[in-house]
Symmetry: C2
Amino acid sequence: MQIRDAAESDWPAMWAFMRPIVEAAETYPWAPDTPEDWVHAYWMERPAPASRLVAELDGQVAGTVEIHPNLPGQGSHVANAGFMVDPAFGRRGVGRALGEAALARAKADGFYAMQFNAVVATNTHAVKLWHSLGMSTLALIPGGFDHPKDGLVDMHLMFRVL
Amino acid sequence: MQIRDAAESDWPAMWAFMRPIVEAAETYPWAPDTPEDWVHAYWMERPAPASRLVAELDGQVAGTVEIHPNLPGQGSHVANAGFMVDPAFGRRGVGRALGEAALARAKADGFYAMQFNAVVATNTHAVKLWHSLGMSTLALIPGGFDHPKDGLVDMHLMFRVL
């Protein structure tokens, strides 16, 4: 597996697996009809210290992470990150590799800590994975996510110093 | 004290006390040099169900609150709010009145809950006030706020169902 910075030319391959994840609306607090240009701006266009990586497997983009300051100004020393992995490349360690790379990149870029604001509790694979990478659940936000199938479910707020 | 919807014509009076609060950068995770047009867009321009109120005392705008969805899409049933009170009208219950009004407005507008993401722990007056209005601290985010005088201080994540 190769982890490298995402290039604009990766976007069509990225959006191909990101779009169904957005449309399912089961893991991101975004509307299912969130337009491609909004996601592109969120993921690809934010200035440094924001960054984005892709994982390549078998010569294909298998997953991606974007990293950005969680808050402006006096909160900008804490990073936030978003991950999406192509289900076609599931169970091959793509999420773990991207998680490790994101923590390393955030630290290298001078961030003090990493915070995830909205890890959906029903996304148990992600919850376990982030815990195994040293992210701690500081809070469960009760009913913070309106799951299309399960209704109001909790969200984990996770944090770790880098 | 009168609590009413903010009008665009209130902005100069609002910005007069908001600007020093932004510049102090002790209570908001915004850079001290955050431009007026950014704050105006944040506070005044977001579409419904976002809203903003002012408190009037002695015929003057003494404080304001803005309310907006904390997250897009599947997280948009939870509100977030920001408050600023003119220190010249301190100790007269403006913050409490705005807090009560914000909770009532958010409920009336159909929000399920209210979440505050970044109540700076050194802002002890705000911490006590929000607790007294039924907001619970779900987590302390360690060192989440880079205070200009005190360095890294904790932030409260607060939440209550409406």
